[in-house]
């Protein structure tokens, strides 16, 4: 009992510095964001902010579905057919979507049971940004984990020049983020001054240069490729540290028991790596969900991530309330991911 008490007291003492830092540096900025998200505050605005409840959240997330009535040809009394495409013509979404009390814009149109509908949102760009970011996060974090594990295993084996390899492996992560985004933008340039167009051209694969960064289907995959390059070392290094902490005796014992290499990997390595992988996943996901530089530098305002939407909403539109609300939404999504990881990998007791 006494021991437990002493332990608890020590724990609180050890936690104290972290909590002090948290209180001094983080409490106000974080609380400020939550508070501002319920107001119509303007960034560096002269007017006093008004409390507007959940309006910012409604504005960001509200969606609506409306049916698009067919356009009737006055002469024939039947639905008009587009002469060029041969498809039936429906009313344009802009005429159908509600304007009062809030304006909705087209997100996408779809057909269901023979009718045509439009899905509208108050802020379609943010809904799209959520989609882009989740897609980006899931694919890039998955690839980084697999590649990171592979690299860590390779680097963990004994060979000459291993130290040098470990250092070179960290290069992409060490390149200053702001510059690395610019460097990739330059490599993806839409003329043969860019590396990729030059390369494709040299192998005779293209007639005209490809404007990579304006091809919509290519945009997010390109961001993923760059992010995987840049942050796989982060994963690899964290997993490597996990590997180094697995006691060699465990492998010896398994070898004596006649376990093969693959079996040893799945029965010893992977289970013992779980906590390291879980933490790496939490931080990679957290960064991926907040991805900003890549989208801002390479795609600017043609396609948003949640954080770049947040940035432009704050800086260009000076809408601090709305931008804070996007911050809170990002916060909640990250929280959900973190809890899922910890539960799934059974790291929590």
């Amino acid at each position: 009992m006494d021991l437990q008490k002493r332990e608890r007291r020590l724990a609180y003492k050890l936690m104290a510095p972290a909590m002090v830092v948290l209180l001094v540096v983080a409490l106000y900025p974080l609380g400020h964001v939550f508070y501002t998200s319920f107001t119509d505050r303007v960034f560096a605005g002269a007017r006093d902010a008004q409390f507007i409840g959940l309006e910012n959240y409604h504005r960001l997330l509200a969606v609506t579905v409306e049916e698009l009535p067919p356009v009737i040809d006055e002469e024939t009394g039947e639905q008009q057919i587009d002469e060029e495409t041969g498809k039936p013509v429906y009313e344009r979404p802009i005429r159908v979507l509600p304007r009062q009390p809030h304006a909705y814009r087209e997100l996408t149109t779809f057909s269901l049971f023979g009718s045509r509908y439009v899905l509208g949102a108050r802020t379609p760009n943010f809904i799209r940004a959520i989609g882009n970011t989740l897609y980006f996060t899931i694919v890039s974090v998955f690839l980084e984990t697999v590649l990171g594990l592979l690299i860590a295993l390779v680097v963990n084996s004994e060979f000459k020049g291993r130290g040098l390899m470990r250092a070179t492996m960290l290069v992409p992560w060490a390149v200053i983020t702001v510059v690395s985004a610019r460097m990739w933008e330059w490599m993806f340039a839409s003329s043969r001054a860019g590396f990729f167009n030059m390369l494709l051209d040299r192998f005779g694969l293209i007639d005209r240069s490809i404007p990579f960064l304006t091809l919509r289907s290519f945009q997010v995959p390109a961001m993923i490729a760059i992010d995987v390059w840049k942050t796989t070392p982060f994963m690899a290094l964290l997993i490597l540290a996990g590997l180094q902490m697995i006691p060699q005796e465990l492998y010896e014992a398994a070898r004596v028991d006649g376990a093969g290499k693959i079996r040893r990997f799945f029965t010893i390595t992977l289970p013992l790596l779980k906590p390291a992988i879980a933490v790496a996943l939490v931080f990679r996901t957290l960064d991926a969900l907040r991805v900003f530089d890549l989208f801002q530098v390479l795609l600017a305002r043609s396609r948003y991530s949640m954080a770049s939407f947040n940035y432009y909403e704050l800086v260009a539109n000076r809408n601090m309330g709305l931008s804070s609300a996007t911050g809170v939404i990002i916060f909640i999504i990250i929280f959900i991911f973190a809890i899922i990881y910890m539960q799934m990998l059974g790291v929590e007791e």
Binding site: E7, L30, V33, K160, L170, F195, W229, L286, G327
Partner: protein, 288 residues
Amino acid sequence: MVNFRERPVKSILFLLMLAVIIVYLLFPFYWAINSSLKTESQLFMTPATMIPRDPVTLEFRPYWGNYIHIFQSGQFVRGLRNSVIVATLATLLALSVGTFAAFALGKLRFRGKTASLYIILAMTMFPQVTILAGLYAIITRLPLGTIPGMIFSYLIFTLPFTTWVMTSFFKDLPIEIMQSAQVDGATPFQTFYKILLPLTAPALVTCGLLAFIQAWNEYIFALTFTAIDPGARTVPVAIALFTGEAAMQEPMGETLAAAVVVTVPVVVLVLIFQNRIVEGLTAGAVKG
């Protein structure tokens, strides 16, 4: 593992894999070096060249001007110094504060553990721009200079990272080590300091390196906090403030040259830490 005489095919495959990994990781960096050795005209050449070539004669002709320029500008050299200070201190602070907390979170029994873990993580769950305004208000009100202010603000992202990573590694250590130490009469803190800490050396070093690089690369906070104090600017800010000869001209070559120069010390740091320190720490643990 690489043993040509015994297993030639396997060794070759292994080397091949190594080669692929190296090219994948290093080629973009090579491209940065290549581009940093070009003049603007060479950079804009179509098609782009794998090595710097003269636009007219196509002879190999590297241009060192970008490197000369960045070292002539006092900003960049001063930025290097500031970055070393800020990133080192932010890392050491985060490591020590974080490791203390991590030991408690990973190995001691007390209430509110999980909650504390998530509260600490919550510090870094907002996009940076969102908390910038609030943070700026705090930092300017604290009676600190610009550089200490930056160091403290960097704890917002380095502290959760070090705490979480170290917690997971402390958890990993078998509880028997602690128990046997306690039987020997060591206090929990002695156990932590003398036995557990050296055992987690690989994690400690890795964690420190990754946190260091994060702090080293941070840009938005630094830009805002040092705007009125040019003497305190860090490298990313100094690079962002590089300009061409005319407004709007992007000094691509110089920017890349600076990025190359800045990456080198980090790699050297990794070399030192990976080999010497990890081995030193682990050796100490075995002896103790």
